[in-house]
């Protein structure tokens, strides 16, 4: 009985440690991967217009519509950043924590995701010398923070963070559909 | 009868405990200015005889720098200056200030300062009087 419980606790704990195995070398981080062109295509659209300002202004309005708060805007480089902070608490993680607590016989309280900050970063720039064609590229990503926990006698302080680039193509399609409607222009892909 | 009362009180306590575990809801007056803020508005605003807005903003920035503030942003067309500093020697307290400069008439600028100490708006008139005294010195030292 005790062996089974111990095995269960080991299983749960090892699933937690499974995340921290490989370290990426710095050189690799500066190289384009196979997914880079696909990601770029997903995140980029072209608009036939001279008015970069109107594109940025409409993007800010679309992001506001989606619940984002504008945080930074640098017009000279066509940069716009908007974020929204939401709760990241998940039922699945709570249940997992209960089982970890139970299987470790009350010794391990797993920290769970609590707080997330979803950010949208947008760059608009002219793509030809006459500035009649504008490229709009947006990136959605989120940073998630965990709460605190307990491992035997040791208190695990809160604030453990992880970042996730959001790669759902539907999300980007919907954003550009809204932007297209807001500026009354058609969004071209490459 | 007493046992039932004990159980009921436990359940009630449990319900109340859970109540404190609900996310706080925004009040109706979240985006409405408070009484205190409306009263302080006149103290926060003062008119100065300055030639143009840019000159006034330079004076504001100079005054803030004299007071040890770090200028965070300055927007000339809309007359906004935002600055912050620590309440030294105590590095745990932060003081932020937003100053707007608006033309009231020809050669007359309306300057409004909004100070926030540790994320709470300052309602003491003396603070603003001190600021405007420093600002006046900074604005008219250029003339001399």
């Amino acid at each position: 009985m005790r062996r089974a419980l111990l095995a269960g606790a080991c299983l749960v704990l090892s699933s937690q440690l499974a995340g921290c195995i490989t370290h990426t070398q710095p050189e690799e981080l500066f190289q384009l991967t196979a997914e880079s062109p696909r990601n770029k295509a997903m995140q980029t659209r072209f608009f036939e217009t001279k008015d970069e300002t109107e594109l940025l202004s409409a993007s800010a309005a679309v992001l506001q519509d989606l619940g984002f708060q504008v945080e930074e805007s640098v017009q000279d480089v066509g940069f716009l950043r908007a974020t929204k902070e939401r709760s990241a608490r998940e039922y699945g993680q709570d249940i997992g924590r209960f089982f970890a607590f139970f299987l470790s016989l009350g010794k391990f309280i797993m920290p769970v995701d609590l707080h997330q900050r979803i950010a949208a970063m947008l760059i608009a720039r002219p793509i030809n010398p006459e500035a009649t064609r504008q490229e709009v590229r947006i990136m959605f990503y989120r940073v998630v923070w965990k709460g605190d926990g307990q491992a035997d006698r040791q208190h695990i302080p809160p604030g453990q963070q992880k970042m996730e680039m959001l790669r759902d193509p539907v999300m980007y399609q919907q954003f550009f559909a809204k932007l297209s409607k807001a500026v009354f222009l058609e969004a071209f892909t490459l | 009868m007493t046992r039932r009362a004990v159980w009921e009180s436990i359940v009630l306590a449990g319900v109340l405990l859970v109540q404190g575990c609900v996310a706080p809801q925004p009040s109706q007056d979240l985006l409405a200015p408070t009484e205190a803020q409306m009263k302080i508005r006149s103290v926060q605003t003062r008119a100065f005889d300055v030639k143009d807005r840019q000159l006034a903003m330079r004076g504001v920035i100079a005054a803030l720098q004299d007071l040890g503030f770090i200028i965070e942003r300055a927007n000339e067309p809309l007359g906004l200056v935002t600055a912050a500093r620590f309440a030294e020697p105590n590095f745990y307290d932060v003081l932020g200030v937003t100053v707007t400069v608006r033309p009231q008439a020809e050669g007359r600028m309306l300057i409004r300062a909004n100070a926030i100490y540790n994320n709470k708006p300052i309602e003491d008139p003396k603070v603003y009087q001190n600021f405007f005294a420093t600002l006046e010195r900074s604005l008219f030292i250029a003339k001399e």
């Binding site: 209960f98 695990i156 959001l166 999300m171 | 609900v22 707007t100």
Partner: protein, 202 residues
């Protein structure tokens, strides 16, 4: 004798009922991994990525509550009035762009402030850092402060040749403010600053 029995059984049933209720409540809390009150104040969902995208219905409803049409084309004056209103509300203005027509500010409501004693890190909190780069993997102290953030973004856009649309959106304790009442009060203050009457968007 029978009267006593019935009385007894009734007492037992009420005790067991409220006891059962308590047990169920306790089990619910337990199954969620014994969350602390701070954690319970965070809304739970099955997939936290749902928060990225708002549903269409809530978007439309929000848009109506958050927008007003003004009979003016003076964007600068409208923005100045918006900044005035933000100052009245005690917001620190962060973003101000006349050509893009937007103002954005933040303030902290003392919702999570420790009731006993002080947390010196509380006011040093830098919410601008997207990723908190520290040598030690975990961050501490300021974590409890994040939920206190109240953000307000106001956009001013041209509706047609004679009108502007002003849209205000606020964020409070990790949720978008969806109640129309705070926005009504906000626009009343804005109208006073502008001396204009704001109309609802159709």
């Amino acid at each position: 004798m029978l009267h006593n029995h019935r009385h007894m059984s009734r007492r037992l049933s009420t005790i067991s009922r409220s006891g059962g209720l308590l047990l169920v409540a306790g089990l619910c809390l337990l199954l969620q991994g014994c969350p602390t009150p701070y954690e319970l104040r965070h809304q739970a969902q099955w997939d936290s990525r749902e928060q990225i995208w708002l549903s269409e219905e809530s978007q439309v409803k929000l848009r109506v509550a958050q927008s007003r049409v003004f009979d003016t084309t003076d964007r600068r004056r409208t923005l100045e009035a918006a900044v005035d209103t933000m100052q009245d509300l005690g917001f620190m203005v962060e973003v101000l762009d006349e050509q893009l027509g937007m103002v954005s500010g933040k303030k902290f409501e003392p919702l999570e402030r420790p009731s006993i004693g002080t947390d010196p890190y509380y006011h040093l909190y830098d919410d601008q850092s997207l990723l908190i780069f520290t040598k030690s993997y975990h961050t501490w102290g300021p974590f409890w402060h994040r939920s206190d953030l109240v953000r307000l973004t106001i956009t001013v856009r041209k509706r047609n040749d004679t009108q502007l649309v002003v849209r205000a959106s606020a964020q409070y304790y990790l949720r978008a403010v969806e109640d129309p009442a705070p926005y009504q009060k906000f626009f009343r203050t804005l109208e006073q600053a502008l001396f204009l009457q704001g109309q609802l968007v159709e």
